[in-house]
């Protein structure tokens, strides 16, 4: 019998190793799996390479992981926000490496890893400092930049509903990077707010098929906190 339901976040993350590359879903706080990040902090893995769109908001979630000094390098598109003080401090002190990636390249490099594509050419970033030193080629009359896939040891993502085969649906824009990160990691751990019986998810509406998910952790629903912007 296949049963990917984990009885706790701690159990789901017990085997994360020092030095691991960890993809973490989320765009700001939407889709950020806070409970898995808290469990990762407790688990103690260090020297992590984290892949996320941002670099933490406030003092919880990804910001707390950074603040705990567990992250050696972050690969992201938009680290600087009004409430990214943990990242800002580490960066200014030279205690974290930053690989800044245009957001579309980030999504596509992750997707490429999941699809078995080693690298691809894209016009994004051509002629900018973010393409410096990268191979370029003219394709269809347009200059393009070679970008490599980003693989991960673990992906931590937040979904809405799931079943024991690992099929997932998401909620609104909390979906964001979840589906592509699930494809790109050797082990994908997803939180869900509801575990349902096989067959209860509409097969036409499953967003992430279970083959991309190894562990499903049920978590009680809490309202997502707003962050990352200046209140009016």
């Amino acid at each position: 019998m296949i049963d990917k339901i984990a009885h706790s976040a701690a159990a789901a993350l017990a085997d994360v190793k020092d030095g691991a590359t960890v993809m973490i879903g989320g765009f700001g706080t939407a889709g950020l799996p806070d409970e898995l990040i808290a469990a990762l902090i407790d688990q103690g893995a260090r020297d992590l390479v984290v892949v996320n769109n941002n670099a933490g908001n406030g003092d919880t979630g990804l910001a707390a992981l950074l603040g705990a000094g567990r992250v050696r390098k972050i690969i992201c598109s938009f680290p600087r926000q009004v409430d990214s003080w943990h990242f800002d401090k580490l960066y200014r002190e030279g205690r974290i490496e930053l690989e800044l990636v245009p957001q579309g390249n980030l999504a596509e490099r992750i997707r490429a890893a999941g699809a078995g594509i080693g690298a691809f050419f894209t016009p994004t970033g051509y002629g900018t400092v973010l393409a410096q030193g990268k191979e370029t080629r003219e394709i269809d009359g347009r200059m393009q930049v070679l970008e490599y896939a980003i693989h991960a040891d673990v992906a931590l993502i937040k979904a809405e509903r799931g079943d024991r085969w690992g099929n997932l649906t998401y909620r609104k824009t909390a979906r964001n990077f979840g589906p592509v990160m699930a494809m790109a990691a050797r082990c994908t751990v997803a939180t869900v707010h509801e575990v349902v019986e096989l067959g209860a998810l509409d097969p036409e509406a499953v967003v992430t098929p279970g083959i991309f998910v190894q562990r499903v952790v049920p978590i009680p629903r809490t309202a997502t906190r707003g962050a990352g912007f200046k209140a009016a």
Partner: protein, 215 residues
């Protein structure tokens, strides 16, 4: 500062909105361009895309109705219009990078007469760089507009011969909307298509760092 006649931010937004055809799919960048959504003329159906996975983005929710699983690119709460859809990040950026968006409107630090864009980084030594979706949007949409103040706070022209800030994209902007004028940029250089009421040509040219041509 000078006492030039100027469009207000809302007048600028309304001027951009006038140029967005019925049926367009549009991405409005963070900052000034977000104002455009408030000025789309009645009866014109325009679908707004948000990089974090929305087509058919609606206005901000009423106070107390905020759902932070439904936010815009600036992470502020928004709503979904009937007919709207959610999708993941690779699909969202495929919409941009694959040339499916009709128009994107971005803010800018500098735009060159040939349409180079600098809008993500001042290059200041102590600044923490952040690029987000700017480079994908700039080169991916069928048309890229810029909406920006004509001058910096220090009175420098933001329309320049060559961008001195780090580039976002090369030759990607087709039209610039400022508080003084609407100016096409590209292979033919800077061509003025509209000018704020009461502003003389010579006065516009005097505060603009590139040679302007008449449409």
């Amino acid at each position: 500062m000078d006492a030039l006649p100027r469009w207000t931010r809302d007048q600028m937004a309304a001027r951009v909105a006038r140029d967005i055809p019925d049926g367009s799919v549009v991405n409005l960048g963070i900052g000034l361009p977000t104002l455009i959504a408030n000025h789309l003329p009645e009866g014109r159906e325009v679908i707004l895309q948000s990089e974090n996975g929305i087509l058919g983005m609606g206005p901000a929710p009423a106070a107390g109705q905020e759902d932070y699983d439904l936010t815009n690119a600036g992470k502020q709460p928004v709503t979904l219009l009937p007919g709207g859809a959610y999708f993941h990040h690779a699909d969202s950026f495929a919409m941009m990078r694959g040339g499916h968006l009709d128009i994107c409107v971005l803010g800018a630090f500098q735009v060159s007469a040939r349409g180079d864009l600098a809008n993500w980084h001042t290059g200041a030594h102590d600044a923490i760089p952040a690029v987000g979706g700017a480079m994908d949007l700039a080169i991916g949409a069928k048309r890229t507009f810029v909406m920006m103040e004509h001058l910096t706070k220090a009175g420098q022209s933001k329309l320049v011969e060559t961008c001195t800030y780090p580039l976002t994209g090369l030759a990607c902007v087709s039209r610039v909307y400022t508080d003084l004028a609407v100016i096409d940029v590209g292979p033919r250089g800077a061509v003025v298509v509209d000018i704020v009421d009461g502003l003389e040509w010579d006065a516009l040219q005097a505060v603009t760092a590139v040679a302007l041509a008449r449409a």
